[in-house]
């Protein structure tokens, strides 16, 4: 496989075929906790992109020196150290952004998609491929988080983009159903996140099934390569 085809494959895997939120179903704790509105969800997503890109880069660069038996503790060490450095750097140099994103950054350490990509991809591939994989997987997570946040916010509170004024001053949240909307608290609480995520996964599988029957008569099953975990 040529270099550019390989990279295109990585991007397609991250954004759709092995999407961390919909196909691998990894790193659910932060996803479900943070996706109460779209701005928070995208903020966490972008922070994860940064952490995952960096950790894939470093793991890939050091992979020759990491003994097989101790790779998992070393990966966790690398991820935790990078997240700490990111947290401190943001706090010091982008303090206003840190006040918005800051609470999300330590949560990334608990997101096992970062460890999963270090183990399943970066430990076996070169610097460029691993970095691209980190970015693609990260943005795969971003769009799922954005959609989940959008739906939860819309159903739960009847608003869109609440909290946007914290990121871009001057912009205002949109009230879709007006002030009379009573709200539907379940959507904003963790069980609502599970229901809506389940709906998204069902839609994802339906699209894949539909696509597969149209493209070839006997379709290869679209399957997650990693077993589901929280």
């Amino acid at each position: 496989m040529s270099e550019s085809r390989h990279l295109r494959e990585s991007i397609r895997n991250g954004l759709w075929r092995q999407n961390p939120g919909l196909a691998q179903i990894l790193g659910l704790c932060p996803i479900l906790a943070i996706s109460t509105n779209m701005v928070n969800a995208v903020s966490l997503g972008l922070a994860t992109v940064m952490a995952m890109t960096l950790s894939n880069l470093v793991v890939s660069g050091l992979r020759r020196w990491i003994a097989y038996e101790i790779r998992i503790p070393v990966f966790i060490l690398i991820i935790a150290a990078l997240v700490t450095v990111l947290d401190l750097a943001f706090n010091a140099y982008f303090h206003s952004l840190y006040l918005v994103l800051g609470i999300f950054i330590p949560l990334i350490t608990t997101n096992c998609i970062v460890l999963a990509r270090a183990e399943a991809y970066a430990a076996k591939n070169g610097l460029l491929e691993s970095t691209v994989d980190g970015i693609a997987m990260g943005f795969g997570l971003v769009w799922v988080l954005a959609l989940l946040g959008l739906l939860r916010e819309l159903i739960g509170n009847g608003t869109l983009f609440s909290g946007i004024e914290m990121v871009f001053s001057g912009l205002e949240p949109i009230s879709v159903f007006g002030d009379a909307y009573p709200g539907f608290l379940l959507a904003a609480l963790p069980p609502g996140a599970f229901f809506i995520l389940a709906g998204l996964i069902a839609a994802y599988n339906a699209i894949n099934a539909h696509h597969a029957t149209r493209v070839s008569p006997n379709p290869p099953p679209v399957q997650a390569s990693v077993p589901p975990a929280a």
Partner: protein, 242 residues
């Protein structure tokens, strides 16, 4: 998740030199242990280095933020002293949780006390607060200096994150009497609202404000009299209570 890679496992066992003389299992264990030690050392140094490099800037940013909050909790009260340097520090005990105390005066007349306190029992841990208390024993205002409450759920305690922009949750403390108020959320029989589904954050803040305000209120004169820059000990407070 992954099948062990036989080629790699073999190679680490048959390392040359010193390790070759040892039994293979011991050699492997030693190589792993040294490897892990080296990585831990390297990445801990990286974190320590970053911490050292950023410490001053982070402290400066936090201080700046705090000054802003002090301005916000002192509404419409005229004072003419240098508030930021007229500061004492309370010796924090479990009873009060009060930290620095800034004293606003107008000439020689006491105007208000602004103090740091914290709620140790927020949903996400400690919630740091800035509170002001005027000379009639009423709360001037409360602000959250830092917190780790769940975004979109418990973070309404911070007015910047509160969806009700015209009447944020935290404003209900302004004007409350430190001694005559029941410092609990309504669910627990007190005077203060909370958001359904996120009671813990509201309860923690409400109790912390009440606890600290009562402590400061009981020692108001002693706190104003304490020399600038001094530490205010718990015993000193006891003596002035009567």
């Amino acid at each position: 998740m992954t099948v062990p890679d036989p080629a790699r496992t073999e190679s680490s066992a048959s390392s040359p030199g010193f390790f070759a003389k040892l039994p293979p299992a011991l050699a492997r264990a030693l190589i792993s242990a040294f490897g892990l030690f080296a990585f831990t050392l390297a990445f801990t140094s990286l974190m320590a280095f970053t911490y050292e490099m950023t410490r001053d800037r982070i402290q400066a940013a936090i201080d700046q933020q705090q000054m802003l909050l002090i301005g916000e909790v002192l509404p419409n009260l005229a004072y003419d002293n240098a508030l930021l340097t007229d500061v004492i520090e309370a010796e924090t005990s479990n009873e009060n949780h009060v930290g620095k105390i800034w004293r606003a005066r107008n000439g020689s007349a006491p105007v208000a006390l602004v103090f740091e306190t914290f709620a140790p029992d927020g949903y996400g841990g400690r919630i740091n607060l800035i509170v002001s208390l005027d000379n009639e024993g009423r709360i001037g205002g409360v602000r959250v200096a830092s917190h780790h409450e769940t975004p979109g759920l418990g973070d309404y305690i911070d007015p910047a994150k509160d969806r009700k922009k015209e009447a944020p949750w935290i404003h209900q403390f302004s004007g409350a009497d430190a001694s005559a108020t029941r410092w609990e959320v309504k669910k627990d029989g007190g005077n203060f609202d909370y958001h359904a589904g996120a009671t813990i954050s509201a309860r923690a803040v409400t109790r912390a404000v009440g606890r600290a305000a009562a402590w400061v209120n009981a020692r108001r004169e002693a706190l104003f009299a304490a020399p600038e820059g001094s530490r205010f000990s718990a015993e000193q407070g006891e003596g002035n209570k009567q």
